[in-house]
């Protein structure tokens, strides 16, 4: 069992409250996933800059002087924002790939959570309320975001096993369910040059979407083909720089509720997660159909 929440804002006036609204939704889903929690938040577009969000088990050592060291290595200005075990590095967009490569030498123990123009991923082991507090998620502004509370069923309870998983620049995936053909898919993807870091099934789902999109599929097409190629149970919620999508497997035993008003589109594993959203009493509330891809764009 796991919990998923998602919020895609249509009304700009709500953007300063995105983090607070998502935090409330995430904490409500603690019963569904008390092991670990994570959130992907799409914030302000950093004009011509890219963000690299990294995590460390030893932030005091790894983050000290990181921006300076990285700036020197790639020959560009880099800034850093430390948030507990995570650090958001910003650099010119054309240096992002070089920065990611340079990090491997500069700080080999760092783990890359996400890359992109607007997306930042924060995830850790612990109760959702503690994880949200560590990263001050409730203070964050943004256009849309996705959160996940994890109750692990098939791989270790670790930071890297927590969701969201990044599927590419400004793209992320969260999952409720379990995939049964992830080992064979992992081997297939490795042949295609796409490697995963953990034994986690969802990471394979994310890598699968990355592969499909590398081969030219749009995210919508990649999600459609996941219905054919992924075996098992899944409710996926995905985020892109300007969009938000939902797909459930054809059996659809993993719960999902959606709500839409003029101000937002919201997703919750249960209706409980949505009850404090503004105007929920009059929102259109429905259960997404099995084997159907839903997508919203700004």
């Amino acid at each position: 069992m796991c919990g998923i929440v998602g919020l895609f804002l249509k009304d700009k006036a709500l953007e300063p409250k995105l983090g607070a609204m998502l935090t409330d939704m995430l904490i409500t889903m603690t019963d569904r996933g008390p092991d670990s929690a994570g959130i992907a938040i799409y914030g302000v577009d950093a004009d011509g800059n890219s963000k690299l969000t990294v995590q460390s088990a030893n932030p005091a050592k790894d983050f000290a002087g990181l921006a300076g060291d990285l700036g020197k290595a790639i020959g560009a200005k880099v800034t850093q924002r430390d948030k507990d075990t995570h650090c958001v590095l910003e650099m010119p967009a054309d240096k992002a790939a070089a920065a990611r490569a340079a990090l491997k030498d500069l700080r080999p123990d760092l783990r890359v959570m996400s890359t992109g123009d607007t997306m930042e991923i924060y995830k850790e082991v612990g109760l959702p309320k503690d994880v949200a507090a560590r990263f001050e998620i409730s203070k964050m502004t943004g256009t849309h975001g996705i959160g996940h509370t994890r109750m692990a069923t098939e791989s270790a309870v670790t930071t890297m096993g927590a969701h969201p998983f990044s599927t590419g620049s400004d793209q992320c995936l969260v999952h409720n369910g379990s995939l049964s053909n992830h080992n064979s898919l992992r081997r297939m993807l490795a042949h295609e040059g796409i490697y995963t870091d953990t034994m986690n099934d969802t990471e394979v789902g994310a890598a699968y979407l990355t592969w499909k999109m590398r081969e030219g599929a749009t995210l919508g097409e990649a999600l459609e083909s996941s219905l054919e190629d992924l075996d098992g149970f899944f409710t996926f919620v995905v985020g892109t720089k300007d969009g938000f999508g939902v797909v459930r497997d054809p059996i659809a035993c993993k719960p999902a509720v959606m709500a839409e008003t003029d101000q937002y589109v919201a997703f919750g594993s249960e209706y409980r997660a949505l009850v404090n959203l503004p105007g929920i009493e009059t929102a259109r509330v429905w259960e997404p159909e099995p084997a159907t891809v839903y997508f919203w764009n700004h």
Binding site: P250, I251, A252, C253, P255, Y271
Partner: protein, 227 residues
């Protein structure tokens, strides 16, 4: 009317209060406010009382109901009225998956749509849905009636025993051993009564009846691929 504020008093107090009712008082009307999608509301009731939940509910509302009438002024989460024995459950909105699962008796009325597995393994309950139902509904349904005024999803009535299924709209596909059957006068009578009791204005003659072909009751090697 007695009002119970779930936000103030909590779930255990609600169920303990309602389960204590034994039909010896004439104060039988209850209203539950602030349900906020909570789970297991008004479960295990066993008295002819009338409970109205003002809002949407989470998992397993009205489970194991006996005698009581429970109305949900909102939508219901998974497993509403699961294993109901008698009484009536009325949902003004939609119902999530496996509504009325394993129900032995009583009437479940869903005014919106029901998701997948509606009436799975039903054992005597009557379920009337004004909207559509999802896939695998009435899977292994043993007895009772499932009435659908809208459309039915894939694999309707798979591995069906003796439950009757009536659908007015389209059926996406029938499950193993479920077939369309002749609508005889006695079926129209059953259907008319159910629609009346549910309060739905629909013409029974517009419905089709589905039931078991009774080919999978006993193992037959020729049917191996259908099991």
């Amino acid at each position: 009317m007695q009002t119970f504020d779930l936000a103030a008093e909590g779930l255990r107090a609600l169920n303990a209060t309602l389960q204590k009712q034994n039909g010896t008082t004439n104060q039988t009307a209850w209203e539950v406010v602030n349900p906020k999608g909570s789970h297991a509301l008004a479960v295990g009731l066993d008295a002819p009382i009338d409970v109205t939940v003002k809002g949407s509910t989470g998992y397993y509302c009205a489970g194991m109901n006996k005698q009581a009438t429970i109305r949900i002024h909102g939508s219901a989460g998974p497993g509403v009225a699961e294993n109901m024995m008698s009484g009536t459950v009325i949902i003004e909105g939609d119902a999530s998956q496996y509504a009325g699962a394993t129900g032995h008796g009583g009437l479940l009325v869903i005014k919106g749509n029901a998701a997948s597995r509606c009436g799975i393994s039903m054992k005597g309950i009557d379920i009337v849905v004004q909207g559509n139902i999802g896939h695998m509904s009435a899977f292994m349904a043993q007895s009772g009636n499932l009435v659908v005024c809208g459309d039915a999803g894939d694999a309707l009535g798979d591995s069906l025993y003796e439950a009757r299924i009536f659908v007015r709209g389209k059926v996406k596909s029938l499950g193993a051993d479920c077939i369309e059957k002749e609508m005889r006068p006695e079926h129209l009578e059953i259907l008319r009564d159910l629609l009346d009791r549910a309060g739905f204005d629909a013409n029974p003659e517009e419905f089709r009846r589905y039931g078991s072909a009774r080919k999978l009751y006993n193992f037959d090697v020729d049917n191996a691929s259908a099991y």
